[in-house]
Symmetry: C2
Subunit: 457 residues, 2 copies
């Protein structure tokens, strides 16, 4: 480890005291439940206790029903006592972004226009989680309609700062040791950015690998569910659980499960090679971010090459904006018609901008995003992963959710990306390194990430 | 066979004299070549002789290079003589719509703006055809950019009438016994309608089953290559050859070949049931068309139910138009910019209409087309096929290419459809019955078609 690199050891330390029952995370908790060393009720009660202590400051949750969660935990314990098969997450509490439908808790998508909305059915991934034995602890705060306008969640490392968004509550709840696992979504930078700000691991899989059936649609070609955890093993466990084919998501293909945990457990056959990419938003990065990555690259030495993307990527942020805004306008048409004045000004402006996009512009943007993806996937013939910042710098103040610019290309291209909470900024706040792989190479991305994290220890 | 049903027996009879060497079609020709009873050169020469006789009246071809075709035939004969493996179409001449790239013949797409255009490479299906041993005889006339403005092709049954479009030359060349097989394309009604007008069998497969790599793009979610032949067996042979996965067409999925010829050869396990659908364009059908289908349904008796589509299908033609025009505008942007005045007025109006379509309208139309497809595919749980007219009536005069309205829904839904040339109109011109199946049920559609044709004999 080169001197002077501001590497964060391990995970978030604020709030400083890890909850005893989950300090080793989801994998250990599930193993303890299976071994009869702890009950699901004890795990859920510990999570609720932790939430009772820190929720007033962090505000990660929008719907919590402690009695319901405890009841589900009692049922899980009862099933285990009866000798029924237990899933890989049996008894483990999980937080769910409040754009994902749950039949037993409201789903309000961060807008008063959906106040009191109660879906009739669980989203596909909720059913999958329940089958895996997980306890849906509650719904976490999202920005307004999973776009920019912040909820009231604060960064557990510094309550004056944002946790990022749009998956604000999911990232903060994991960072604050309220739950070991949470689910979020990314249309632009809504998983990787809050993971970076909150100092947790975050994963946005390849496009089309986690079902979005029963999830608020912002932009079909961009929306991707993602996950948060405090270590790579937990992140892999949750990813392996959720990455199953569902024909109700029209963008999924019947592919085999990626087997992330197994592949990550093996050593890379040769030492990985990384491409350091500054992306089209490098000028937006803070100087300390640039410095941290320069040092990180120096430490990696000949394992990393500096790669510049072709000039056509200069239009990538515009390309993404055209698609996202036009899709947002379509998908919010009824909300806008019924209650435009109850939308934030920024969201209203985005919708109105999207209403003006022409079909020819939209489809040209879609084609360009296909060309970008082809170039990125081609580049990955020569590298195991792309290394790039996860965000422009540390979390800014809580009146915004920060700048997603370092995530935009990877969302647009549908390639998998990981946030590794291995750096810190000048104020001691977390700063993430982002690793990106070719589409479909999700498992190898985790293996490369493990190699990178271990090489810094 | 009920009395009075104006069923056409067999295939087109005008021009009346079948070419000796191909009178039994592609299957027989290929068998004769394999058996050494005829050479590819003889087949090609016979086709060229036939063309020399009727091309002045029919004008089906836009690029013919007799010497090149004969040279390819000599090569095919040489390969056979050397004992190299022969493909299923070894030595069989095929006509290719002039929107499909060929490296050894021009590809001008029916517009002076592409005059002299010589693609560097063959389209995927041209390579597939060459591998199967087929001889690309020449390029057939297309309407302007495969849309409406007619070329100079005439209907072989009556030179004052249109062969239909946009695959005008392919349908006419097969009808005139110039070639046993031809390839066309359908974005709205460009295979089924000319097949109906020309009295030949036509097949538009399920969307995404024949590669469009190297083919003029009009509308990616609609464009479908299709085929023409004078009997179902030949049509199946060509379809089986062309329906192979090609990852360069982004809308193809790696599916097994449908095995149409084999499945069509088996008897249906139970007598098929048909749904007679009048489609949203019934009021455009001529009275004699309505009468012919009423009698056909009476003949089929309890094998056919009259089914009305939900009212939402009333918007299907508009939905299709929005998608097709907006995509056309995008895909012709450069042509329009460089040479709008050299486009026909009708095409220019369509492009300009497409330029004004909003992304929200386009994407709403795309979603609605998905809803239509779900309803049609659901309906097919109860029926083997939909029965509906292929066109509003007989071929009109050659100044238009006729009305595609009876094909629009099936193009929009991406479901397979067949034209069966089994009826005739009041002027003695051909009139097709269209059969439609659920998406992916291409082989069963042929089997049902064979049953229907045999039940009328």
């Amino acid at each position: 480890m080169a001197a002077g690199i501001p590497v964060r050891q391990g995970v978030t330390k604020t709030p400083r005291q890890a909850m005893d029952t989950t300090r080793d995370g989801a994998l250990a908790a599930a193993a303890a439940v299976r071994a009869g060393e702890i009950t699901a009720v004890e795990l859920v009660q510990a999570a609720l206790d932790r939430i009772a202590e820190f929720e007033p400051q962090v505000a990660a949750w929008t719907h919590l029903d402690p009695e319901l969660a405890l009841e589900r935990a009692r049922e899980a314990d009862e099933r285990r006592r009866r000798g029924e098969p237990t899933g890989p997450l049996h008894g483990v509490p999980v937080g769910i972004k409040d754009i994902i439908d749950t039949a037993d808790l409201p789903t309000e998508c961060g807008t008063v226009l959906h106040a009191g909305r109660r879906p009739a059915r669980d989203a596909a991934i909720i059913a999958t989680l329940r089958e895996a034995g997980a306890i849906i602890l509650g719904k976490t705060v999202t920005t307004e309609l999973a776009v920019y306008a912040p909820g009231n969640t604060r960064n557990p490392h510094n309550y004056e700062r944002t946790p990022g968004g749009s998956s604000s509550g999911s990232a903060a709840a994991v960072a604050a040791y309220m739950v070991p696992l949470a689910v979020g979504s990314q249309t632009n930078g809504s998983v990787i950015r809050p993971a970076s700000y909150c100092g947790v691991y975050g994963f946005k899989p390849s496009f089309g690998r986690i079902s979005r059936h029963g999830v608020l649609e912002i932009s079909r070609p961009l929306d991707t569910l993602g996950v948060f955890a405090r270590d790579l093993e937990d992140l892999a466990l949750l990813s392996d659980t959720l990455m199953v084919y569902d024909q109700r998501d029209p963008d999924m293909r019947p592919l085999a499960r990626p087997g992330i945990s197994a592949i990550m457990g093996a050593a890379p056959p040769v030492e990985p090679r990384l491409a350091f990419i500054r992306a089209p938003a490098w000028e937006r990065a803070e100087q300390t971010t640039k410095d941290a990555f320069r040092e990180l690259c120096e430490h990696l030495g000949d394992r990393v090459d500096m790669v510049d993307l072709p000039r056509m990527f200069d239009e990538a942020l515009d390309t993404h904006r055209i698609i996202m805004e036009a899709d947002l306008a379509k998908n919010t048409a009824k909300l806008y018609q019924d209650g435009a004045t109850q939308l934030s000004e920024r969201l209203r402006e985005m919708i109105e901008s999207g209403q003006r996009v022409l079909a020819t512009e939209y489809n040209t943007a879609r084609e360009r995003s296909g060309e970008y993806a082809a170039i990125i996937n081609e580049l990955m013939n020569d590298y195991d992963a792309i290394l790039t910042p996860a965000a422009t710098g540390e979390a800014p103040g809580y009146e915004t959710t920060g700048d997603p610019a370092f995530c935009t290309i990877w969302s647009l291209c549908g390639v998998p990306s990981l946030n590794l909470p291995i750096l810190q900024g000048p104020a001691g706040m977390p700063l993430g390194a982002q690793l990106v792989a070719a589409k479909g190479d999700d498992a190898r991305l985790f293996r490369t990430a493990r190699w990178l994290v271990e090489s810094l220890q």
